[in-house]
């Protein structure tokens, strides 16, 4: 039953040049990571549940007073988003590193930054996007009014990808280290401070009548810088970890 000869015989034919396009690389990593995420849906659920629980704990621990809740709500939603995104970051490269996929990715003809970008997009789609969708619902819990809620959702929509992008750099840097998970948090959390300040400040700006435009523009600028820089930085870190 073994037909041992190679199925695609190359005798007398020059070897086909492999595809090395950046977009094909992004697509490969994105589709594979989404496929893997769909196979382990429970992990995604855990993370979303973590977000909901953290957000719900604050009113219990502080005050049920409506005005104060509305005041601290945006900040709580942002910090919880940051923590929830941090929860899944250690696994972003670790499983690929452990089973050897990462070295195959580094040896693939696709540019490594493209493959890493695909993984970052998949991380945001599976962790950031659900948070963005849930946040307005949880914001109602805090009595945040409609206009501010909309600004908060838009700020999260722009800000959470930055968290995934910056987090991926940290995840790549801490690959193969013992206690990498906690080190990752120490590395990434300070980097996320500007995102947190401008993100949570969006609602304050709306309440103060200044409009959300300034904060959202700054977040957008941050996102653009992260989109350009983070894949390069993360793939450099991946290569170092493989050496």
């Amino acid at each position: 039953m073994t037909t041992a000869e190679p199925v695609v015989a190359t005798l007398g034919r020059p070897a086909p040049v492999p595809d090395s396009g950046a977009w094909s690389g992004v697509r490969w990593a994105l589709l594979r990571d989404l496929q893997l995420a769909l196979r382990s849906r429970a992990e995604l659920g855990v993370q979303l549940l973590f977000y909901v629980i953290v957000v719900s704990l604050f009113p219990l621990a502080t005050t049920p007073e409506k005005n104060q809740l509305a005041l601290m709500g945006p900040g709580v939603l942002w910090v919880a988003a940051l923590l929830a995104s941090l929860l899944s970051l250690p696994r972003l490269f670790a499983s690929d590193f452990a089973d050897g996929t990462l070295e195959q990715m580094a040896l693939s003809p696709y540019p490594l930054p493209a493959l890493v970008s695909g993984k970052m997009v998949a991380h945001w789609l599976t962790t950031g996007l659900p948070i963005v969708v849930l946040a307005p619902l949880l914001g109602l819990q805090y009595g945040i009014d409609g206009e501010a809620l909309a600004a908060l959702a838009v700020a999260l929509l722009i800000g959470t990808p930055i968290l995934s992008l910056l987090g991926a750099i940290g995840a790549a840097l801490t690959l193969g280290l013992r206690g990498g998970g906690s080190l990752l948090a120490l590395l990434v959390l300070p980097l996320c401070v500007p995102v947190l300040i401008f993100g949570a400040g969006t609602v304050d700006a709306v309440h103060a009548g200044l409009g959300a435009a300034a904060n959202l523009s700054l977040l957008g600028a941050g996102l653009l810088v992260a989109i350009v820089g983070a894949p390069l930085a993360a793939s450099a870190a991946v290569r170092i970890s493989l050496d």
């Binding site: 190359t10 382990s40 003809p109």
Partner: protein
């Protein structure tokens, strides 16, 4: 085709090998032998471009290649200790994913044929976690049949393979050499290949 010039490697402060030079021509295989810890895997990783040598250069098709060079990545298939399989995906999905990562397209029918050629056709839809060590290795062999890379770097490919699997590995290597490919194989068990162009490199 592949040249190593004065390669040296260390692990920490320990010197693994130095002034290592060799040349592998098209249609030739180089078997790298040596006791544990003599640097067989390190040498293969350097040649694959996964790490920089402590000294020396690697030359592929007449051009010096740095680690992760595009020229090399388009021509090499590296089969390391780690199988690069995802437990959640089926054998067939794993194979398709790995071949796609190498920038090559493969029709589903060819995928099935490749699985059949390594006797994994009945396990095609089993998740990879249910495969035995030998079957995981065979999946790696199936990848070799589907890609068209001229340079094969295989690290202990015979590990966990049964006699039929080793025979299959030998047939694949022979076919590859006959088509003018290069192969470097780190191995403990000697694989007797009928091809005349087999050389041995002993690390000590």
């Amino acid at each position: 085709m592949l040249e190593a010039i004065d390669l040296a490697a260390r692990r920490g402060y320990a010197r693994l090998f130095s002034s290592l030079s060799f040349r592998v021509e098209p249609g030739c295989a180089l078997f790298i032998t040596g006791a544990n810890g003599t640097g067989k895997t390190t040498l293969l990783r350097i040649l694959a471009g996964l790490g920089a040598p402590f000294a020396g250069t690697v030359r592929w098709r007449g051009v010096d290649v740095a680690p992760f060079a595009q020229r090399l990545r388009e021509d090499v298939v590296y089969g390391g200790h780690l199988p690069a399989l995802k437990d959640e995906l089926s054998a067939e999905e794993n194979l398709a994913t790995l071949v796609a990562l190498m920038g090559e397209t493969v029709a589903p029918a060819n995928l099935r044929d490749a699985l059949a050629s390594v006797s994994l056709d009945r396990q095609a839809s089993l998740p990879a976690r249910a495969l035995s060590q030998g079957q995981r290795r065979r999946l790696g062999l199936a990848r070799l049949t589907l890609t068209h890379r001229p340079l094969w770097l295989l690290d202990e490919p015979a590990t966990a393979l049964d006699t039929a699997g080793i025979a299959l590995l030998k047939r694949l290597l022979t076919g590859h050499l006959e088509r003018g490919g290069c192969a470097l194989v780190a191995t403990h068990q000697p694989l007797e290949l009928p091809a005349a162009h087999v050389r041995a490199l002993a690390l000590s």
